[in-house]
Amino acid sequence: MNILRPLILTAGLLLLWQLLVTLTGAPPYILPGPLPVGHALLDKFPLLLSHLGTTLTEILLGLALGTILGTGAALIMILSPLLKRWMLPVLVVSQAIPVFALAPILVLWLGYGMASKVGMAVLIIFFPVASSFYSGMQRTEPDLLELARIMGAKPLAVLRTIIIPSALPAFASGLRVATAVAPIGAVVGEWVGSSAGLGFYMLHANARMQIDVMFAALTVLAVTSLALYFLIDRLLDKLVFWQPKQGIQ
């Protein structure tokens, strides 16, 4: 791991951003350049950090819970084709319901606390996990299952020893998607009603046309997302230890 590379990358991305602003001629109240945003960032740093705390908690909780529920749903579906037939439509539909229809229902059931926000995040996060993990398990080598059957394996042992490891590469790929959308999950969760969090703060800043502040918050969110993504990416590579990640050429 080169220490210089992230620096160059950051500088490059900032340059790209500035270029985008300059080339498209976007006015600062729509897309401010990195400079004014950097200024706002420094200005509001402590506040941003405190909001980040809230959002990060929601992200992590949402990710944890979403992963648990997603793997759980996938396991149920793989274990019972009957239940699968009933669950899959519900899961698919759950992805098609927009926030504003769901928000009041969530608040009604979970109140205005952290629960409803995490609930919303979970809803966004769990589907990629459930879907990929399920497909992965479905693609378990049939001969391995045959071998396990002949060995007189206990169903749970087959699951733990053969089916789940077979699906781990697919699961990892689903969790990568989930990790990338987790921050937006938390932000959307904050639309349910909140008084803290980066999503709240962004909406707030946006409503008051403090676009530079909004983009400062966005920057914080983006950096957090990247850090989270690459962290989880690393961990997932460890999880699928028998299949080292390789370049193609």
């Binding site: 391995l144 007189g152 206990k154 087959v158 230890f241 028998w242």
Partner: protein
């Protein structure tokens, strides 16, 4: 290493009027064959004639849609160990864990099993590779792993699909002897392309051929296996068996 006594009486395997089609082509048509319990039957036959499929049928695969009956006599259940033609090692398990797979899947892992697995690994010449993942093993090492996994099962019926095909002559003989010792008293079905191997290890040698496949010949050497390669009976039978094989289905 001491032989563990076979746990149940090893049953006969009775195939009656077995028929199976693949893509409209009959692979088996009314095949009838009895494999003697407690004995080793070696199956020879041209590539693609249906040997692996036959083994899968005996293992009770639910994915094959056949007609006819496959019975074990006396009836027993959960009695089969199966070694497939490809090694089927789990890539996320070390060699040792792969050898212990059956025990793990049945929730029977124990200190004794581990000790036995390690002893078998030593006997198979794989000492030092216990903790390696399958990707770090050579083809023959993987095959030996799969064989050990099958031998660990200690089942009354053992089905093995070309278990020694990737081994050099010396290792092959060593593992043949190991397998023969550990499967005494069990009903062993061993698919092989090596007539010498069949003559060394089989109480009975069944030669398959033709399409749909039928039994071309059954050889029952007088001496008990494992026989020495230099044994005159083996030498005599070898020449005629090879000739029969080289004549192909026509015979």
């Amino acid at each position: 290493m001491q032989l563990s006594t076979p746990m149940q009486t090893a049953p006969d395997i009775v195939l009656e009027d077995l028929s199976l089609d693949f893509a409209g082509q009959p692979l088996f048509a009314d095949l009838t064959l009895t494999l003697a319990g407690g004995r080793t039957t070696c199956i020879l036959g041209p590539s693609g004639c249906g040997k692996s499929t036959l083994l899968k049928l005996m293992a009770g695969s639910p994915n094959l849609d056949f007609k006819g009956r496959i019975r074990f006599e006396p009836t027993t259940d959960s009695t089969v160990a199966w070694m497939s033609q490809n090694d089927l090692l789990l890539p996320w398990f070390t060699l040792l864990d792969n050898v212990l797979l059956g025990a793990r899947l049945r929730g029977e892992l124990s200190h004794e099993k581990r000790a036995k697995a390690l002893a078998l690994i030593r006997e198979a010449g794989l000492t030092g590779y216990e903790d390696k993942l399958p990707t770090a093993l050579s083809g023959g090492m993987r095959q030996r792993g799969a064989l050990l996994r099958t031998l660990m099962e200690e089942r009354p019926v053992i089905l093995m699909d070309e278990p020694f095909s990737a081994l050099d002559a010396l290792t092959r003989v060593r593992l043949q002897n190991l397998a023969a010792r550990l499967t005494v008293g069990a009903t062993v079905v061993l698919v092989t392309h090596d007539p010498m191997e069949a003559l060394r290890l089989g109480h009975t040698i069944v030669v398959l051929g033709g399409a749909p496949v039928r039994v071309l010949e059954i050889i029952e050497p007088a001496a008990l296996p494992p026989r020495e390669a230099g044994n005159p009976e083996v030498t005599a039978l070898y020449a005629s068996l090879l000739k029969r094989l080289m004549n192909g289905e026509a015979a």
